[in-house]
Symmetry: C2
Subunit: 257 residues, 2 copies
């Protein structure tokens, strides 16, 4: 095991996935407390989902598991490691089989993007957390591999793969981040997303310097919000944006052909 203080000096220690494993936690439930890295990670995901990133503490996590905080350190070097494990576990929620069954590359990209986005929104702690790590756990790699396969099916030349992957999935990450944080804020305020949106927009309107800056879009924002729920609007905007991305990829494919 590696002391927390010794981390960050060795790049191989930048990720729990690059450490030399000693297999200690491989056997499950061996100890008197029935502890186990999988159980620890599962419990932390529960806390993260229900109470948010800020509320996850080693003591709380330990209490939930019926142990002392220091017991956790047998299975894990730092609190950060737990989150890194949790991130990868959640990447596993993306159902790659559904993607395979989705038709041509256009539909596959749509399906992958949609699932990725839903996952980020379902776990609002994901985007801030995932952004911190290299995301090279087995599940994240599997997703990356599938993304790469899908993009490759477009027929684009190899050296265009990374940027094309970025164009689509960095967009999805950014989009999901906004949605997730907005949802989190609304939940913290104890309001529905629509109410929160409405209240924020109202308060916003009272600030004269802002009104003129976004005036051109104001009617549009109002009109949209008065007809549909913000989640519906976001769904539609997301699809539109994917249209743009896919159209752009098609152009590149044609240019190359």
């Amino acid at each position: 095991m590696v002391k927390a203080a010794d981390r960050a000096k060795n790049p191989a220690r930048s990720s729990v996935w690059l450490e030399n494993k000693d297999g200690r936690a491989a056997r499950s439930g061996g100890g008197p407390a029935g502890l186990d890295r999988d159980r620890i990670v599962a419990a932390s995901i529960r806390i993260l989902d229900e109470e948010g990133l800020a509320k996850l503490s080693m003591r709380k996590l330990a209490t939930d598991l019926g142990v002392t905080a220091m017991s956790l350190y047998w299975y894990v070097d730092t609190k950060d490691d737990i989150i890194e494990y949790a991130v990868d576990t959640v990447y596993g929620e993306i159902d790659l089989a559904v993607v395979d069954a989705a038709g041509d590359w256009r539909q596959q990209i749509r399906e992958l993007a949609l699932q990725y986005r839903r996952m980020l929104v379902r776990h609002p702690w994901m985007s801030p957390s995932a952004g911190q790590y290299l995301n090279i756990g087995p599940h994240a790699i599997a997703v990356g591999s599938k993304i790469q396969e899908t993009i490759r099916a477009t027929g684009l030349p190899l050296d265009r793969l990374p940027s094309t992957m970025s164009a689509v999935f960095q967009f999805v990450y950014g989009y999901g981040t906004i949605e997730a944080q907005f949802g989190r804020r609304a939940a913290e305020a104890g309001m529905s997303q629509d109410d929160f949106y409405g209240e924020a927009l109202k308060a916003f309107r009272d600030e004269p310097q802002f009104v003129e800056a976004l005036e051109p879009m104001a009617e549009l924002l109002d009109e949209r919000a008065s007809h549909d729920s913000v989640t519906v609007i976001w769904d539609r905007d997301f699809e539109y944006a994917l249209d743009i991305l896919i159209a752009g990829i098609e152009v590149m494919v044609q240019r190359h052909a």
Copy 2:
């Protein structure tokens, strides 16, 4: 002023920009310590840039300013508010005049995207922080307004504006996030980005389960990294991705015309 404990209940308090201002901090340097919200924010940006998000504490910030921690609370409700102010200040680094001078909408989008990305990379604490707030400070709004203007110049119909803005700038946010965090990790390990990349890739290669997953791209990754610095590669990938996005927008414009 608003007690920290009372926050998060009122959506108008979800942002420092939606609070009723009492103008207390408007006069600058009035107090015996010559303190001032601008000075506080400037000092925190310095710490954030030099030592990172995790190292910013009220006590440290106060010490840097030659004051006690509690003095800061005269100008600010919570530590979070300071970061929200810092985020907006840094949005102000994006030079909108340069964007105006950049030619047609294609070049303007490129210029805006490039500046946004550079800003995120220059301040690695920005992406995790900016993701948390509504980003409705004056500078963020100015940037948003410029983005909107630029996209509008494409001639797309109004209801396509939000998704088109998302497609481009959520991508930039995601891309910048990855770059910034990678750079931060490398700096923490005390290595150049190229060395860090090489070491990570090497360690990565020792994990058999990962090799096969990304095998198709392996040659590409190696070849690219052996010819150019990762920062050069990222620059190019970023440009390629913008090509895709702009091509996609062009298609949409044509379809609509």
